[in-house]
Symmetry: C2
Subunit: 557 residues, 2 copies
Amino acid sequence: MKNTQQLARRIEVASGRVKADLVLKNANVVDIFCHRVIKCDVAIADGIIVGLGQYDGLNNVDCSGKYVMPSFFDTHLHFESSMSTPNHYLWEALAKGVTTLNADPHEIANVCGKEGIDYMIDCTADSPIDVNFMLPSCVPATPFEHGNAVFTAKDIKEMFATGKFFGLAEMMNYLGVIYADKEVLEKISTASICDGHAPQLAGNQLNAYLCTGIVSDHECESVEEVYEKVSKGMYVMIREGSQTKNLSTLIGAINDFTKRRLMFCTDDRYIGEVVESGTIQNCVIKAVEKGIDIYDALTIASLNAYECYKIPNKGAVSINYRADLIVADDIVPRNILQVYKNGKLVAENGKSLYTPKKVDDSKVTNTVRIKPLTASKFLPKFTPNKTPVMQILKDTVVTKTIYTDSTEGLNMCAAIERHNATGNIGTCWVKGFNLKNGAIAQTVGHDSHNITVLGDNTEDMLLAVNALGSEGGMALVVNGKVEYVFKLDIAGLMSSKNTHEVIAEHHTLMEKTKALNINPEIEPYMLLSFLSLIVIPEIKITDRGLFDVAKFNFFEE
Amino acid sequence: MKNTQQLARRIEVASGRVKADLVLKNANVVDIFCHRVIKCDVAIADGIIVGLGQYDGLNNVDCSGKYVMPSFFDTHLHFESSMSTPNHYLWEALAKGVTTLNADPHEIANVCGKEGIDYMIDCTADSPIDVNFMLPSCVPATPFEHGNAVFTAKDIKEMFATGKFFGLAEMMNYLGVIYADKEVLEKISTASICDGHAPQLAGNQLNAYLCTGIVSDHECESVEEVYEKVSKGMYVMIREGSQTKNLSTLIGAINDFTKRRLMFCTDDRYIGEVVESGTIQNCVIKAVEKGIDIYDALTIASLNAYECYKIPNKGAVSINYRADLIVADDIVPRNILQVYKNGKLVAENGKSLYTPKKVDDSKVTNTVRIKPLTASKFLPKFTPNKTPVMQILKDTVVTKTIYTDSTEGLNMCAAIERHNATGNIGTCWVKGFNLKNGAIAQTVGHDSHNITVLGDNTEDMLLAVNALGSEGGMALVVNGKVEYVFKLDIAGLMSSKNTHEVIAEHHTLMEKTKALNINPEIEPYMLLSFLSLIVIPEIKITDRGLFDVAKFNFFEE
């Protein structure tokens, strides 16, 4: 039931009989429906676009020579992966043109449970961005590792009842779906919207996954995979994270028929990259540089996502659409001059026009508890050509299982339970890092966020793990010396410091890490954090041992 | 909340572990998302498509060499204009591949009020087609004519509360919207979905109309009009009715960006045309013949409409989509072999596999009540070059106001109140019919359905009107003799006879009408019935007089 008085006022404004709240004058309006630029005024009332034509407002902003386009929707992300807290992240994302995002607080949920999620929600309270919290569906991701929280179907139902959640976050337990696990199906059936996570899932298995109503996937790594998923009714997110950048590969899947079913997301994107090149803005620019029509890129960045998530009247500069807008100096928004949310100016020249909220973080700090270790614990067994070795790859968190004659050139890797000091540890050999004379360790390790450590000698590995302390973070050891610790005091995942401090500290860590001569094609900490993510093919390490994703069980010893 | 046991079963079927209810084997599946044909089996459980691949079913239908595609959605129609009752209409439409339609029982509502609507709903009860009844928004269409029913905003609210209605039907009173009429806005604000009717509306007036949330328009008559409406957020219906055929003109508006916002509708289509060439099937075939890609045509005929009306999981042959399907011998569905609704075979080789319902029509018959007339009442005044004359046009119900020196070559036209025997009559001169030596009269006259009559002499006009009797219909008088009466016993709008009798009688009427030498480019009864529709530009006749649509008031005498 709409308010008729409000409707009447909008009609008066639209008709030109009453002044608009705000008019963007003489703008080049980017019409994503008809692929054209219309030179006109944009009249706004009650935060809604009510006029495209000639208008006069109580507030008039000259947009001569500037382009007005829909602002962006980041369809899937984990704030935690930015290493900044949501309050700081949102300030940056808004200035880069994002006004809606779907956030899955899956990482902190694994460390701090419901209190972690409440902290994240609290962080977003003052931001103009529409943050849709997706309820983590897989805490723990699987029964094969030890996190610090368990969300049962009953928990999920109770948490939905709080009204805090928009939908169910990525259903990573695809095998649970395919084999009709009762608990998994109960979780799905509670939600009206459920995001997917279905790397390489195809054929009848994909059919089984999709007949539960799961709507999206952000794990496509080939054009064929996009085609099959779109064919079968999914919306496919093209992801540009920090470690996983799929746009170059998937560009060939964007054409005049698939394009209405594609969206952009960042999933896991480090705050430094957000500040440097934006999030969805970066996707749009890259897509255009690779030959995609700018109107199509903008549609993928906005309208499609609102359609997928059944959020009406957003994602276009059209009548009765929400005035969530970007003003840029060109149709390709390399330079975002202003961002409007609900018809209010909220960011200008790269800066959001508010101060990020201060948030009580007392319930999400000092989360690291490990049992004392000895160096010998880090040494994996090795039988030539028998012991599975993890081969890492470029631009993906997918790994391959290989077998080698010797351990020469390999690194040692371990996952150590860090929530309840159980002393659990899993170890393995890894190829591709080429780390020499030291170790790196961190409290980030998807998705249970146990400690992950990688090194070429066990003494340095022990030193690095112990350097993490009770707050957690990322530690670097070179030749028997702790060179740097980048503290991540919030759940061992994020820094409570401001964005520029976070970036500076991270930069220092990265610079100092060069001493280890790691393969320059990879970001070692980000990649290491995904080597424990057992829902991604094909060989992974957890605190319980080495995992064979295809079998979905541990490798036999 | 979905049923997890049902989900589990679908997963079992999708996985191939349990047999499907039905499998369409070796089909050429038309993939409208990726514009390709996929040779595979279509597995169906619970009326839902759960598998595309290789499957075995309890029931297997060989579709080798055949094409499986989504069935059609007719987005806007008035059953009454078919001249058949809905029970008979639906039987034909289903066999022609329609499985969803939005019906506006506006015509019968004007004659019989709520009882008329209830009769229509009753007629649809046994049909497999999903009939979404739209609640007539404008009964009467305007205050400038006398119908037999008035639906106030309060009535509309009460009627929505019955749960019988899907949305509010075409808001024809666009001036009421633009001038923020309180009663009109209350009607709109009651509905979650409201269809539009905005012929030639543009610029700020269109903005005003659209900021009420009206979603669609079926009155576009130019490519530019489609562009502006799509730009401003509307879904535009391309209409192929009997009198109004817009596809040829609007074909140029279908391209790779607008195409997701277009739909097909029939609005007013005579049952004979439905039987001969289908409804939306005809739109698809015509579009392809005019160069539109078949995948795009099918998308416009199905998926787009479901998206517009926010009906999820329908309109594609995809996983978790409803098994509403057409099987045809070619990708262009000229020859529809089978129609499936909810995974059940409901029509085959042009015949629906059920018997149309018998419906109690006692409350919607014998509706014609007029005050006795004399021939002299039919003679309009005429002052050379002063009296507005109605010029009819080809392929449209839009008329033009012209002025002539004399009445030579003109016909006389009248609208006579026929619900409450008030004796009200409006008369005018009409150019373009070229009717000679007789008259035609009918109880169909949009939207109040007063009697409309056209002739070249007043005696024959009187004879024709009186021949309509209390049941109503269409009467033909040639040279002082009643040549034929085609009875429309249901509200004076539809025949209760079966489709073939209706077509035969209508054919006889048409053949005999040739004696009047009417302009062969028009269907005289259909066109005449729209000459009283004062929401269509630009000059119209009502029982209260000659109407100037632009001024939205009567011409001054």
